[in-house]
Amino acid sequence: MNLDKEEILLQRAKDLAKKKEIIEAKLLQLDIVEFYLSNEKYGIESLFIREILPLKDLTPLPFTPPFLMGIINVRGQILPVMDLKFFFDLPAKGIHDFQKVIIVSYNSMETCIIADSIIAAKSIPLTSIQPAPPTLKGIQAEYIKGVTKEFLIILDIEKILTDKKIIIHDEVT
């Protein structure tokens, strides 16, 4: 009994300590939407997100790079669908019913990113964000804004959408 009481008391103490931090962090917070890509947590800033939809009626396009899964019709608007797994060397699981599509927009550019599942929309303190580790290179380093302690990788949408690599301009001969 004594031990239980001690544990409960310890837990309470910890909780109390956390609340203080949150209050402090509220001053500088970042609203993000958390999602899974092959069991890894990724995050996108809510400001860039237009909406989230379940993946339906994907039309694959021939003669395109592998990261372009195809196109979908969102209420009359035709949008390309990208799979970021190809950029981060993640194992491709293929398309399944529970996958979601996150529509992101920056300036006038709009595109869809596939997420295996949506975790939640939450706000995190800016202080908890650390820069990307130096082991990452190339695209991986370019597209990442930072990493939290909980191994949440925050993607830099601005860079992704302004990158010229994703603009496809090929002619089929």
Binding site: D31, L47, I49, I52, K100, A121
Partner: protein
């Protein structure tokens, strides 16, 4: 080819051939000479005798004619005498014809006679005419002339007769000469025939007799019992040779046979002694067998008693078998009922299986509903996320809305959790249902196997019942047959009596056999003695 090698038939035929040849020669010669003689005789008859006879007759005729002429001349008796003269003239002429025909001498004599006769005839007719005219003197004158003619005729007649006589004498002498010659030839031939016959007979005898004598000696020795003769085959192919060879063969064969008889008699002697010993053994064994027959009889008595006991037991056994068959019948009924019960259980099991299948279908539909609820939760979660995004975009004004969106999201999450719980429960239920289905299937199988086993048990009990019934029948049969056995044992006792008697007879017979064996022994001894007479 020597003469002694000719067969006897050939030899004898040779002899007879020689004889026949000689006889033929003799007969030929004789016949020839006889023919000659006959011819001579005929000649004799035909010529000298005929001529003589005719001449004599004609002279006689002459005399008669003269007599009748004289009668006419002297007594004028015409009538009878003329006819008589004519008659005799005719006869004379006929005889003269014969003479002329047959006479071997000078034919002129006959012609002279004829001429003279015709001349005399003319004179006679003249005389007759004179007489008729009564001129007797003239007639007497002519008479002498007539006599002269008659004398001439007589002369010639005498000459002819002499010639004929001479001829006859000559013929006779010829005949006697032929006779002598024929006789001589016949004697010569007969002598030669006798000589050759003697020679041939001597040859035949010489060729036969010595060998026959030898054979006689051999046969005499053989008849005395001496067979130890050194006999060489003879080089002869006639009957004697064949006889020799066959006698030699016979002796060899006889020797062989007597040898065999000797051996046989020896064997007979030994076997007769063996037989006598065997007969003695047989006699003793016959006695032994009569003893053992007595023992067997006592044994059969014992067997009879045991057969009685077994008969009683068999009766008891048939009763027991009857009871067992009753029990088996009861068992059969019970198994039939259990088969019925098993089929009812099977039906119940089928019902349970159907119910569980329905249950599993319903849980499936529950699962579908849960999936729908889960889908709703997911959608509301997404909506909540979108709402919170919109709230963020609204900035400070959207904060309250953000909280609401957060709550909605939590609600959605809770409902999702609940659905997960319900799903897990449903999964448990489904598992339980499937295990139930499996269990019912197993149960159904077990029930069917149980049914089959009960059926088998029923069959087994039925077979048991049948076999018990058979056993009952057999037991009854056994009882009957044991009864028959009892009767049979009685018959065996009587048969054993018969055997006893016959064994006694056997003993008697053995004694008789002993006697006959002794006789046989004597016989063999006699045979041996008989054979020992022969010298081999």
């Amino acid at each position: 080819m020597q003469f002694k090698n000719f067969k006897f038939s050939i030899k004898l035929s040779l002899l007879s051939g020689v004889m026949i040849m000689f006889i033929l020669i003799i007969s030929f010669v004789t016949i020839n000479y006889m023919k000659e003689l006959a011819k001579l005789t005929l000649n004799l008859y035909e010529h000298p005798f005929a001529v003589t006879k005719a001449i004599l007759t004609s002279s006689n005729d002459l005399l008669k004619i003269r007599f009748h002429i004289n009668n006419i001349i002297y007594y004028d008796e015409f009538k009878e005498n003329i006819s008589k003269i004519k008659e005799y003239e005719k006869s004379f002429n006929e005889n003269m014809e014969i003479v002329e025909e047959q006479f071997l001498g000078d034919k002129k004599l006959v012609e002279n006679i004829k001429k003279n006769f015709t001349d005399w005839k003319g004179i006679r007719e003249e005389q007759i005419v004179f007489i008729k005219n009564n001129q007797k003197e003239k007639a007497f004158d002519i008479q002498t002339k007539a006599f002269s003619y008659v004398e001439k005729i007589d002369e010639n007649i005498d000459k002819i007769r002499d010639f004929a006589d001479n001829k006859a004498k000559k013929f006779m002498s010829n005949a006697s000469m032929y006779e002598d010659r024929a006789l001589f030839i016949c004697y010569a031939v007969i002598f030669i025939a006798i000589a050759s016959c003697i020679v041939i007979a001597a040859l035949i005898t010489k060729s036969i007799v010595p060998t026959l004598k030898k054979l006689c000696e051999i046969v005499e020795k053989v008849s005395d019992g001496n067979l130890s003769l050194d006999l060489t085959n003879i080089d002869r192919s006639d009957e004697i040779g064949i006889l020799w060879i066959s006698i030699v063969k016979t002796i060899t064969y006889l020797r062989k046979q007597i040898n065999e008889i000797k051996e046989g008699s020896n064997i007979l002697a030994s076997s007769s002694s063996q037989i006598s010993s065997a007969v003695t053994q047989f006699a003793t064994s016959a006695t032994e067998s009569s003893v053992s027959v007595n023992e067997t009889m006592t044994t059969v008595e014992e067997v009879k008693q045991t057969a009685q006991i077994s008969n009683q037991k068999a009766k008891m056994m048939s009763e027991t078998a009857q009871k067992a068959s009753d029990i088996a019948q009861i068992g059969q009924r019970a198994t039939n009922e259990s088969i019925k019960g098993m089929s009812q259980i099977k039906e119940q099991m089928h019902f349970i299986a159907d119910s569980t299948v329905k249950l599993s279908e319903q849980t499936q539909s529950i699962g579908e509903i849960i999936a729908t609820v889960n889908d709703l939760a997911e959608q509301s979660n997404l909506l909540a996320v979108n709402a919170s995004i919109e709230a963020v975009k609204a900035g400070e004004a959207g904060k309250g809305f953000g909280v609401v969106a957060h709550e909605i999201r939590r609600l959605a999450e809770k409902s999702k959790q609940a659905t997960t719980q319900v799903r897990s429960i449903l999964n448990d239920i489904q598992k339980a249902v499937s295990t139930t289905v499996m269990a019912t299937e197993h149960g159904a199988k077990a029930v069917s196997t149980g049914e089959a086993q009960t059926c088998q048990a029923g069959e087994a009990i039925e077979n048991l019942y049948k076999s018990i019934t058979n056993a009952t029948q057999f037991a009854i049969q056994i009882a009957a047959s044991s009864q028959q056995q009892l009767v049979g044992v009685d018959q065996v006792v009587s048969a054993m009596d018969g055997i006893k008697q016959s064994s006694l007879q056997n003993a008697n017979g053995a004694k008789q056999l002993e006697e006959s064996a002794t006789n046989l022994k004597q016989l063999s001894k006699g045979l041996q003695d008989m054979v020992s007479r022969y010298i081999l």
